[in-house]
Symmetry: C2
Subunit: 371 residues, 2 copies
């Protein structure tokens, strides 16, 4: 008789030189990245923000949906969207990036969603701050983890589950996290978590639980799949590893010129060319972006748009630009970001078995024609 | 010195067993399909409709954008969006499908955008009918083709071009084609052709030119790249072939149960299960949808939602459903559509070098657990 175990295999690494499998392509066809020319927008328009959906988009009725707050709290809560909308309302511009961004460029390649560099987007998220709600519920001062449960249901490596991910209580009680019900001024789209999702500025996407239905306070570490098994940094399968948390600094180049359809190689004509793009870090404010036009051999400082007022980490990406004089030839363009915590993007791949938090510099092949 | 020729290679077929290349993955990461669970919606929400963008999304200013109508017309026109919005306004619900849908399942596989089955979507398009505008411009009664030029610019197989595709004049003068400026009640999104695109109900996506800037009437056949070289049905590279036109009938199953993350295999528990999905054809009204739960060995009639009033082809997909009694085991679910022109979906692949108009039946692997 069929069992759950036979439906999903163990995690694996691709063999040397092994190309993308049918399963990886199937994920790439449904979870999409930002088209890189859309780095032109300060706020990513609907439909261009990256998407990573573990299971299926659930079919939730906003009018019926309820959020439960329970576990180690004095006063458990059950709230509907009207309750949440009558609470204090804030809007934050936040850059989200998938923890697996860049995975498909790693060698050996962890076999999972095969991102290149495009799993990022920036939106204006509107909702109510999480921390005051936890305090109103009377969160236990001894709380260790806060578990967020979504309504998306599936199986992963043999474990049937609703998607669940926990934050340390101290992170959940910071000022930034939001219970968001709007994106770019409109109600959340189904694929972005309608009617309610968590936003944890500065953290990789796995923390921003979509289709949020339950918040559970624990007096111990959460041992659920997405915290204890999946999103962890480890070199070998048998290691416990450490959890994936905040976003490493990264800069992306908005590819200049125009593309070839199949190879996406960029074509330019000679002359002055302003290169630009975006940069971000979930750890600290950016201190600089550098540009290379020779595949990383030499670097020059780019200009960087000023940060938001306040001096905290850059919750949203910042624009950078660099004046290039393009002469005929073949080039590889890259940009790299450095932040105030001292983190910088490596030119050698930072490898781990899940392919997480990999901020290897992007490489954009460009051909400058003779005329 | 670098030349345009070296930027793009010739078309090619994958070797037997050759997996997806880095170039195909790069296209899959930016051009996305509909997540199949979104077949639940009559009208596909923003961001879930399939997208195929040949080059880059151009950055157009709606306030400055103009549409030129020229060539074999008595009175050339230049219109802005305000002019177009003051013309008669109609809304049509239309299903669009990429001509290359299903390409990545073909053997041998044409190397291009590697669609599986998900390159489809349905929207409410609002705009002004094309034919009255052509008549007002005084279209030459001897007109043969009408060329639609978009603002997206790139190179394809060595040919630098703005995207251009022509319709036969008789098709352009039918009642259905629209110059659309809204999608689902909102202004077009950048990736769907903002501020203006052509909609040609019943035709594959290559005809629905986005970022429309020019309409040129010819008294001869258009010999541009997308008509004469690219979107053609041919068995051998040296054949002239015939142009890709209308959408072959197809049915898709909305995958039941819940998925495994990596394999997307569906898991169900035993019991009654209503299977459903969508079906469409650009040639004629659908006459039936059949369902198979045994990989195509046997078929049973599904129920089909009634067509729109009027008796013409189904411009938008129709819902179908089938009551299945799921007992433990492993199944392959399929559905196939038949239309009033006698077209039906094949169980053997309809192969051509471009992988176009391939409506091979979908196969959805399902595991029904013991309990």
């Amino acid at each position: 008789m069929p069992t759950m175990d036979e439906v999903s295999g163990p995690s694996r690494l691709a063999e040397p030189g092994e190309r993308i499998s049918a399963e990886e392509l199937q994920l790439a066809a449904r979870n999409h990245g930002i088209p890189l020319e859309a780095l032109r927008y300060d706020v990513t328009p609907a439909g261009l923000h990256y998407l990573l959906i573990h299971y299926d988009i659930p079919d939730l009725d906003a009018a019926e949906h309820r959020l439960t707050v329970d576990g180690r709290v004095d006063r458990p809560l059950s709230l509907d969207l009207t309750d949440l909308r009558t609470r204090p309302r804030v809007t934050r511009r936040v850059t989200l990036e998938c923890a697996g961004n860049g995975r498909a460029l790693l060698e050996p390649r962890p076999v999972s969603q095969p991102w290149l560099v495009e799993a990022v987007g920036t939106a204006e998220w509107t909702g109510t701050p999480l921390a005051p709600l936890l305090r109103e519920a009377g969160i236990d001062p001894e709380a260790v983890d806060v578990v967020f449960t979504g309504a998306d249901h599936g199986v992963e490596r043999g474990v049937e589950q609703d998607y669940q991910r926990a934050l340390p209580a101290a992170e959940a009680l910071r000022e930034e996290p939001l219970l968001a019900y709007e994106m770019n001024g409109s109600p959340l789209l189904p694929q972005h978590g309608a009617p309610l999702r968590l936003i944890v500025p500065g953290w990789y996407g796995m923390a921003h639980v979509k289709w949020l239905s339950r918040i559970t306070v624990l007096d111990r570490q959460f041992d659920g799949f997405q915290n204890a098994v999946a999103y962890r940094l480890r070199q070998r399968a048998e290691e416990a590893g450490v959890p994936v948390t905040r976003i490493e600094p990264r800069a992306l180049v908005r590819p200049p010129g125009f593309p070839d359809f199949m190879s996406r190689t960029r074509v330019l004509r000679p002359g002055p060319c302003r290169l630009d793009g975006r940069a971000w870090s979930g750890y600290a404010q950016l201190t600089g972006v550098e540009v290379s036009t020779d595949g990383g051999a030499t670097w020059a400082a780019a200009r960087l748009a000023p940060p938001e007022a306040g001096g905290g980490p850059d919750l949203a990406w910042r624009r950078w630009w660099y004046e290039w004089s393009a002469t005929p030839g073949r080039y590889t363009l890259s940009a790299r970001a450095t932040d105030a915590s001292g983190r910088c993007q490596p030119v050698e791949q930072p490898w781990n078995r899940g392919g997480f938090a990999n901020n290897l510099v992007q490489r954009v092949p460009v051909t400058v024609l003779d005329e």
